[in-house]
Amino acid sequence: MTGVHKFSRAEATAYGFLTVTLVFCLLPFVWVVLASVDPNASLFLSLPKAITADHFVKIFTAENGGRWFFNSLVTVGATTALVIVVGGMGGYALSRTNAWWKRPFLYAIILVRVLPPTALIVPLYKVMLISNGVMDALVRSIVPPDSIRSVMQIFGFVDGYLGLILVLSAMQLPLALWIIKTFFDLTPKDYEEAALMDGANVFQRIRRILVPLALPGLGAAGLLTFIGAWGDFLMPLTFISSSNLQLLPIGLFRAFQRANTIDYGYLSALALLYMLPAVVAFGLARRFLVQTFAGGIKG
């Protein structure tokens, strides 16, 4: 026999199947990358004959891509921050309490994730619309008439940053609470008690002990929140109508929807831009996922 490994029929079949699957999965990415720099990009996969940055330039000049990107970053960033803070405090409380409603509550919030958001979008919209009316009255009573619109674009519940941030947060919070609660379950109370004996007040205990200890859990929850909210399509579609508040996924969708001709180069450049933050976030926070799901506090 030679040293060369001979594939058995079963192995060859398995590898063949895996290769086909791999190519099938990778093709869309390859197409997006190639098309984004191809001056003659089309729906068909082809190697670009020349390389251009025009599509990217178009995003920021001819179109309002910079603004969409900014809107996405602001709403999703604020959502992530809000979920980390609320989820951190709530997860801690849920971990430490022995209240009778703890289990029912934990299972109830999971329902928010289980039910398809589309099914609930109409009542949710109604709730947000009523809240928006209240907020509108409130804003009208404090700010001068000519700045009402710009203030409502930030604090409005419908067609405003705040509403979208709250809705996205509400969708992401259950999972974050579960992750952080589970993480605190693995974090002995001894650390806090030791800090208490050392003379740390409640803020010092949070800032110098709990937050550093919970960082992997908070990071993991934050990452999943960011990725989940960044990829959400239904909420920005439903709750944002002003063009200057548009988010990136909606911009991408509209670019695809244009009636006459589809600019595939521009479309894939925009898709690439849309993927980028999620990939960066994953790269930055990946180790928290590993720490959270593969162990707890060591030391």
Binding site: P188, E193, L196, M197, G199, R208, P212, L213, I297, G299
Partner: protein
């Protein structure tokens, strides 16, 4: 340095009473050990002294001042946790200096004091390490360092040696005693290990099911246990207990075991308990093996021989009773041998049906 008084302390968790009216006192500079089986309430009591748990009733006093409502960090009490609870994200130096840092002590002064504590505990080489990179014994020393840097009046230890292996435990026991002699803090130390209690304590509080079973100097506890519980809990291996009755013939009382053998009671007056069933307690070292032709109290069959080197423990069976006997290390004995035993009358302990000792 301070005196701690525990006065009629009770603690309920809902309907469950875990501490049922406990009182004792630890004098200034004393090393007190709270010992008892798991679930006896000893850790709860320690946490009450620390201020991490409230009391349901009763008072905790430090130098005569009631501290029930004083927050933990204002009591001048430091605590070493069973898990050590070293902050994993801080270095050894940061861990030890954390309490000073919280008090806004200048950095240079913290460094100096941490240096002194580290030297005392032989941690100087490890100051830049994280807890994860330390051995069990080193972590233990860091936890002690974090306690003593506060110059507390009282240091509490919650089963601090239970996570260490046997040889390290012996070493740390000696180190704790050295530390106590050098710094002289008042120490309250919780353990379930009576060997730790006996070797280190100035005073031992034996707890059982939320009550103080007995509170005394170690040797006093060993020599004069007030109950079957204390008699069998303190001392390793444990005291033998033999069931029987007190009988009397002429003027001398005797103890007759259920298995039929009798020993005269020299000097003990148990006339009042005649014909009552009692427990005779006798420690393994108070039973002697004698030659076949000497006078003996009873004879029995050797079933187990445990050789420890310097001494040997022998299980001798007489009917349904098994007696543990301590003998010389080099004794020639085998399982199945028949041996003659003599019991030391002066070391008898008698307990009544309610497990209380009869006053001698």
């Amino acid at each position: 340095m301070a005196t701690i008084s525990i006065e009629n302390v009770r603690k309920n968790y809902g309907a469950v009473e875990v501490i049922k009216g406990v009182s004792f006192e630890v004098a200034d500079g004393q090393f007190a050990v709270l010992v008892g089986p798991s679930g006896c309430g000893k850790s709860t009591l320690l946490r009450i002294i620390a201020g991490l748990e409230s009391v349901t009733a009763g008072d905790i006093k430090l130098d005569g001042k009631r501290i029930n409502d004083v927050p933990p960090d204002r009591r001048g009490i430091a605590m070493v946790f069973q898990s050590y609870a070293l902050y994993p994200h801080m270095t050894v130096a940061e861990n030890i200096g954390f309490s000073l840092d919280l008090k806004k002590v200048p950095k240079a002064k913290i460094r100096k004091e941490v240096g002194q504590v580290a030297e005392l505990l032989q941690l100087s080489e490890l100051l830049d390490r994280r807890p994860a990179a330390l051995s069990g014994g080193q972590r233990q020393r860091v936890a002690i360092g974090r306690a003593i840097i506060k110059k507390p009046r009282v240091i509490l230890f919650d089963e601090p040696l239970s996570n260490l292996d046997a040889s390290l435990r012996v070493q740390m026991r000696a180190e704790l005693q050295r530390l106590h002699q050098e710094l002289h803090p008042t120490i309250v130390y919780v353990t379930h290990d009576q060997v730790e209690a006996m070797t280190m304590a100035d005073t031992i509080v034996v707890l059982n099911q939320g009550n103080v079973a007995q509170w005394a100097h170690p040797i006093e506890l060993y020599r004069h246990p007030k109950s079957v519980f204390v008699a069998t809990f303190i001392g390793s291996p444990r005291m033998n207990l033999i069931k029987g009755v007190v009988t009397s013939k002429d003027v001398t009382s005797s103890f007759t075991a259920t298995e039929g053998w009798t020993v005269p009671l020299a000097g003990k007056n148990l006339a009042a308990t005649e014909t009552q069933s009692v427990w005779l307690g006798i420690r393994p070292e108070d039973i002697r093996l004698v030659d076949a032709n000497s006078a003996a109290d009873l004879s029995g069959k050797v079933t187990i021989v445990e050789r420890l080197g310097a001494e040997t423990y022998v299980n001798v069976v007489k009917g349904t009773e098994t007696l543990l006997v301590r003998v010389r290390g080099d004794i020639a004995l085998r399982c199945g041998d028949t041996v003659q035993l003599v019991l030391d009358r002066a070391s008898f302990h008698f307990f009544d049906q309610a497990d209380r000792v009869f006053p001698a």
